[in-house]
């Protein structure tokens, strides 16, 4: 080992192996000839004899050249690793010599790489990882979109499901399901809330999923009105049955009815919509017997597997044709409703694609800024180490070797930062798994797998090379002789490196202003959403959901009596001002029904509008502080036997009764049942924004709880902390019936907050990325001015000595750095446009190029830059000509 290093340092280039072997063998043969000639042979005879004595020269030559080639290659490999080891050792030493710089670099890199790894982890598990189905690319979700665009993801009616089945040719298999619903599972004696979902037995076949345990559903299981078999999700099997294999085959009580467990689904399986603990077999045929629900109720989800070779477009064309035909055949129910299919992934990813892309882009911007920033810092370090490099070049180190050394240093910093960043990312994802279950599709695992770790590693290497490349090149170009000779200039900066630093600052400014503008737009939009009046008073409201078992409280009368008792008990509690029962709280309303107005039937080309529908008790509006605008609200006399009544909101009144004659109007709500009595509109209440991300309130109607069959959420107006009342409410309800499970206990503010999580989380993250970027850019601007001022210190000293005013020097420095900053902002304008475009679909209540958001971004960036440049510019103007020139 020691002697080959010696050889190498002569840096002579060895001849090709063949040439070397030839030289050696030629010497041998020529020496032999000489010895023969010396003993008296003729030249010719001597040559012949020498060659004969040598033997097969071609074979020897070939064998030797081959061995030499192999040896040289092995040696080159050893050298490469030796150099690397040397570089790494040297890099560690030089990092340790500047501990503060190294630490700062590693921390910045850790944040930059960590942010990217975490965001990529989410991005990958949501958008890139395979769905938990076989060949999920062939799977499509079929929707029934409203032609007016209000309901792009409409569900299907039972009639439509079976009509598609009969007519379609694009799919090899189709399966329908109903959205998961709350149910009660009797765990021993304790009632427990679970999610149960009706699925056609064909659905699992369509998805290509077979049960992990048990035989699963048979087709005939779906033929009965009351299903007696259930399947479990893997998660529920673990949670409720402790993963006991003998759970399959046992009988459990679900919603009061005994049912046999016939299978457990594989780990990681999630339904195409929502999540579920129990699956029950669904028979669409059973729904076909009820003439009202056959086409009037649109509540089926439908998934199909494309036949091999059939494209999404072809399937959509076929479905459009079927949709148009059904619209013609069943205009009463299907008018204005088409059919379309989107890939199942698209339908499950939902609205997360754009926020994730925006997050990924902003994390990438932060990393780019980090790179530019560290490149600037490395440049400064390189300049102060110029002497060191010059000495090494003078002692015989090649330029390539020096370049490699510098890149090794930056890559090692990057690797240290990357490792710390990976830890940050893993921690962040663990945190995220706890927070955003609702905001992220249920199949996403939110973890860093091998692929994500490899991507992070590649990103780390690229980062190291990126921020090391600039300084390395500038060193490669410097002239060692001049550097060594010209001692006084040891710390000054060449024009070239000054220009590079300027470019780096310009780039950082451009990236930062784009990121800040994006964050500003999102913040303004979020603020617009949260600050707009929501239509009721959410503070001081406690909400509790109860699930009265269906058997005991199956009739309207029984339910009314139960909730009368419950509300009476709850109202009597100290600290309770009001209490009401409602079907779904504001911001979570999901039911809608068709609207039919007496004497104003929809024309043949007018689709039936679907109106968000709730049911509330007579004190609901008072409890939530929803104002009555006209007419009256429900009273206790609007019972099951009284004439049917309804209360609507202002948005609905204005839209469907523009002349202001809504109160007293008669309507039917869908599914249309011509034999049902007309419902009278008795009052108009204030608008409540059901989707807080939309500023315009949607039309809403409220049925009286006493006349409708649904509603199980308590809204309790309290005078103190709502949550403090929880146990008192629980006890009060238990005195009425201990078998009623309570769940979803929370404050109204939390309910609203949950509907914002999806909006808020990316905004918070992008804003914090923006803050990080701002900090980095400030450091970059500071470094640029500090270096510039230091480099021209002598010149400024001369100028001051010659009588130049301090202000002129400040102008000089500002002008020189300002050009780069201005250039950055000009380039950044393009980035701002890009950011606004990307975020367009995420903005509510703010224009795409909101001058306030963009102006604020610009102002904050300039303010930070101004603070950063203040110190170095002041220092430049304070130059003392005597000390500088001495």
């Amino acid at each position: 080992m020691s002697d080959h290093r010696q050889d190498r340092d002569y840096r002579f280039v060895p001849p090709k192996p063949e040439t070397e072997v030839d030289d050696e063998l030629r010497f041998h043969v020529e020496e032999r000839i000489r010895s023969y000639v010396a003993s008296g042979m003729s030249a010719d005879a001597a040559r012949r004899a020498a060659l004969e004595r040598f033997g097969d020269i071609a074979a020897v030559r070939e064998a030797c050249a081959r061995m030499l080639t192999e040896d040289r290659k092995a040696e080159a490999r050893r050298d490469w690793f030796d150099d690397l080891r040397q570089d790494v050792k040297f890099a560690m030493r030089s990092a340790a010599r500047a501990p503060l710089f190294s630490l700062l670099a590693i921390v910045t890199l850790a944040l930059g790489i960590g942010a990217n790894a975490a965001v990529f982890g989410v991005f990958k598990s949501v958008l890139l990882d395979a769905l938990p189905y076989t060949q999920s690319r062939q799977l499509m979700r079929i929707y029934s979109p409203f032609r007016d665009g209000t309901q792009p993801k409409g569900s299907l009616s039972a009639g439509t499901v079976s009509d598609i089945r009969e007519r379609q040719h694009a799919f090899s298999s189709l399966g329908a399901f109903l959205s998961p619903r709350d149910g009660v599972y009797l765990n021993g004696d304790t009632p427990q809330m679970i999610k149960a979902m009706f699925v056609e037995p064909q659905l699992f076949r369509t998805l290509g999923v077979t049960p992990a345990r048990g035989g699963g559903f048979r087709d005939e299981d779906a033929l009965h009105d009351t299903t007696t078999v259930v399947m479990l999700s893997h998660d529920a099997w673990q949670r409720l049955f402790a993963g006991n294999p003998s759970a399959v085959g046992t009988t459990v009580r679900l919603n009061g009815i005994p049912r046999t467990i016939v299978g457990v689904l594989p780990r990681g399986f999630v339904p195409p919509e929502g999540t579920a603990d129990f699956y029950q077999p669904l028979g669409v045929k059973l729904f076909m017997t009820n003439p009202v629900t056959i086409r009037g109720s649109h509540n089926f989800g439908f998934v199909g597997r494309l036949k091999p070779g059939v494209s999404e477009e072809a399937a959509n064309r076929e479905l459009q044709g079927i949709g148009a035909e059904l619209e013609r055949l069943y205009a009463k129910d299907n008018l204005g409703i088409g059919l379309s299919a989107v890939s199942l992934r698209e339908s499950m990813v939902g609205d997360t694609r754009t926020p994730l892309l925006a997050l990924l882009a902003s994390a990438a911007l932060v990393l780019l800024i980090t790179c530019a920033n560290l490149a600037g810092a490395m440049l400064s370090r390189t300049i102060s180490r110029k002497k060191e490099f010059a000495v090494r070049v003078a002692l015989g180190a090649g330029r390539g070797r020096l370049l490699r050394q510098l890149l090794t240093e930056s890559v090692m910093l990057a690797i240290a930062g990357g490792a710390a960043g990976l830890a940050i990312a893993i921690g962040a994802l663990a945190l995220l798994r706890g927070v955003t279950i609702a905001a992220i599709p249920s199949y996403a695992t939110l973890s860093l797998d091998t692929g994500a770790i490899l991507v992070t590693f590649a990103l780390t290497l690229a980062t190291g090379l990126a921020f090391g490349a600039g300084p390395a090149i500038s060193v490669g170009r410097s002239d060692p002789q001049r550097t060594l000779r010209d001692e006084t200039r040891g710390t000054s900066e060449s024009v070239r490196s000054r220009r590079m630093r300027g470019l780096l600052v310009a780039g950082q400014m451009a990236l930062c202003v784009s990121l800040l503008a994006g964050a500003g737009l999102l913040l303004r939009s979020l603020w617009a959403m949260t600050s707009a009046p929501i239509g009721f008073e959410p503070n001081g409201l406690l909400t509790v959901t109860l699930q009265p078992p269906g058997g005991k409280y199956g009739t309207l009368v029984a339910r009314n009596r139960l909730f009368d008792d419950v509300l009476q008990k709850v109202r009597a509690l100290p600290g309770v001002a009001d209490a009401a029962v409602v079907s779904q709280l504001p911001t979570t309303m999901s039911n809608s029904n068709g609207l039919f107005i007496q004497d104003a039937p929809w024309g043949p080309n007018e689709p039936v509008p679907f109106i968000s529908t709730g049911a509330g008790s007579e004190d609901y509006f008072r409890t939530l502080r929803i104002p009555l605008k006209q007419g009256r609200i429900f009273s206790t006399t609007d019972g099951p036997d009284a004439p049917p009544v309804i209360v609507i909101n202002e948005a609905m009144a204005r839209r469907y009764w523009p002349k202001g004659n809504a109160v007293g109007a008669h309507i039917h709500i869908g599914p249309p049942n011509p034999t049902a009595p007309w419902i009278t509109v008795i009052g108009i209440v204030g608008n409540v924004r059901n989707d807080p991300t939309r500023l315009a309130p949607e039309p809403t109607m409220y049925l009286p709880f006493r006349q409708s069959s649904f509603g199980n959420v308590l809204a309790i107006r309290t005078s103190g902390d709502p949550i403090a009342l929880t146990s008192a409410v629980r006890r009060a309800i238990a005195t009425i019936d201990p078998m009623i499970p309570l769940y979803k206990v929370s404050t109204m503010n939390d309910v609203i907050g949950d509907s914002f999580v999806m909006r808020r989380l990316p905004v918070v993250l992008i804003t914090s990325f923006g803050g990080l970027a701002l900090l980095l850019v400030s450091v970059g601007v500071y470094a640029m001015f500090a270096n510039m001022a230091a480099a021209r210190e002598r010149e400024f000293g001369v100028r001051v000595a010659l009588g130049s005013p301090r202000g002129a020097i400040a102008r000089l420095v500002l002008g020189q750095g300002g050009i780069w900053m201005a250039a950055g902002l000009v380039i950044g304008a393009g980035g701002v446009v890009g950011a606004a475009r990307l975020l367009r679909s995420q903005l509510f209540g703010v224009p795409q190029f909101d001058p306030i958001a963009i102006g604020a971004a610009l102002a904050i960036l300039l303010l930070c830059a101004a603070i950063a440049l203040l110190v170095p510019v002041r220092r430049a103007t304070r130059v003392d000509p005597i000390t500088v020139l001495r």
């Binding site: 050696e24 010497f27 030797c64």
Partner: protein, 117 residues
Amino acid sequence: MFEKESGLLQGTVELLVLKTLSWGPMHGYGIASWIESATDDVLRVEEGSLYPALYRMTRKGWIKAQWGVTENNRRAKYYHLTAEGRRQYREQTSGWRRFADAVNQAINTRSAPSWAK
């Protein structure tokens, strides 16, 4: 010269090369000439086959090559022993002696075995 025709083992060639180089650095021609004269030309066949042996020994790290200049001012590739080569030389020499002595003793013996009639 050393391999097939003479029936000598590869190890013998290497031992002889080590012996030659124990006097000091030498080029391939010198090594071949010395071995031939030292063995009274008994091993005098096809000198070329010495070279693969030299390259093999270089790879094993026993010897190293360096280009130098002969007395007649000609460029030649000189081989010298490494530390490992010297160790090999000592070990293989004593090994060969024991081997040769044993074979010699056997073929020079006059006392017949008991089964000889």
